[in-house]
Symmetry: C2
């Protein structure tokens, strides 16, 4: 066998499991807290118990980022933080346009810590002229008609949609016209875009469904549980 020494991360070449991606930010947040209080090392077991996850799972997730740990010592907190940042692309700043300056849009513009994830909302847009020319959390609100041109000129490639469902498609069309690469869609509506554009939907109704059903089941359960035994 060839004496292959360490091989740098190539794992990222072939699709990363989405569940893993969704857990990495949880580790990231915990790690930052640990660093805050001066810890320099951490083990999967510890992360697991803290976050109520299986330690092996944590280890596999970390393996994806290319970080290697040392037995007994565990992982280096700083190294892990950097690895996750790099893996997710949070080490590089990405400028974004936000469409829809309602309260949801305002909430996102003021969301703390997006900057740490490399997300920089540089401007907002709205159809309503009354909302334009204002400044929210330091960002200018412009009329939506200016979006495509400005987007191309500033080379912004990321769009966030926070308009009502009925206007989501129109917003998406304008972003596509501006040459968008990825869209984070908060409107409860399916948007149609060319295949090259990456879309992630943040559909509150989907999450609500999970919660509603669990609650419904729990209520039904507790109603019929008083009598039955195992």
């Amino acid at each position: 066998m060839e004496n292959k020494t360490v091989r740098p991360i190539r794992k990222s070449e072939k699709g990363v499991p989405e569940p893993t991606l969704r857990r990495l930010p949880l580790y990231y947040r915990l790690l930052k807290q640990l660093r805050e209080v001066g810890r320099s090392g951490v083990s999967c077991t510890m992360i697991g118990t803290e976050l109520k996850l299986d330690a092996t799972q944590v280890r596999k997730d970390i393996e994806m980022t290319g970080t290697v740990g040392r037995p007994k010592v565990g992982y280096d907190v700083n190294e892990l933080i950097c690895a996750i940042e790099k893996f997710l692309g949070w080490d590089i700043s990405t400028e974004a346009f936000l469409v829809g300056a309602g309260s949801l849009g305002e909430a996102l513009m003021g969301y703390p810590g997006f900057a740490e994830c490399g997300l920089d909302i540089v401007a907002a847009f709205d159809v309503d002229p009354n909302k334009c020319h204002r400044v929210i959390h330091g960002k200018h609100v412009r009329h939506i008609s200016k979006l495509p041109g400005l987007m191309r000129r500033m080379r912004v490639r990321f769009g966030i949609i926070t308009v009502p469902a009925s206007e989501a498609q129109q917003a998406a069309d304008l972003l596509v016209e501006g040459g968008v690469l990825a869209i984070w869609n908060f409107a409860p509506a399916k948007i149609h875009v060319p295949d090259r554009v990456i879309v992630t939907n943040e559909d509150l109704y989907c999450s609500l469904a999970v919660l509603s059903q669990k609650m419904t089941r729990k209520l039904a359960e507790s109603r019929s549980k008083g009598v039955s035994k195992s």
Copy 2:
């Protein structure tokens, strides 16, 4: 060695796959649109092509709700809508308290269509006295100290947390004190609650991670691929 006695795994308490739960609202929305334009029947194939999902998957999801279809005809739109509502518990109105009257909280209070899902936000609470005694989207904002007492008195069992991460645990504690049954947590922080309380986290950073990584990968990909043929 006889390992543990045969455990007759409780099929009575058949857990519903979460992916299925997250897709049902998509069908629900589409079905309502279809009803709007006067359609009375629909097939899995149609739902599948419209939502870009596999038809068999749609069929299995629908099967979960207990609806039966007829060959050639497909499913009855109205019947299906009712079945999904009942299955998710959206046919019964649930009153909720919202903690954190910032812009995110305001956005949720004004979210259209929660009523159709049986979700009724009856009041909001905040620590900031300046935000109290106001009325947002028809709902009163009260001081957070009133939460537990009012919650018990009004028998509200559902809580929504839209406070900053640093105050999430405090908000959760008050909800627990008020006898909460389920919590929808929008704060980017893990909250600790008794096991009996159902929690669903709406962590934006988790979604952002998925999007960021896809985008990063796509950029890296197109950089090394753009030069090659065609």
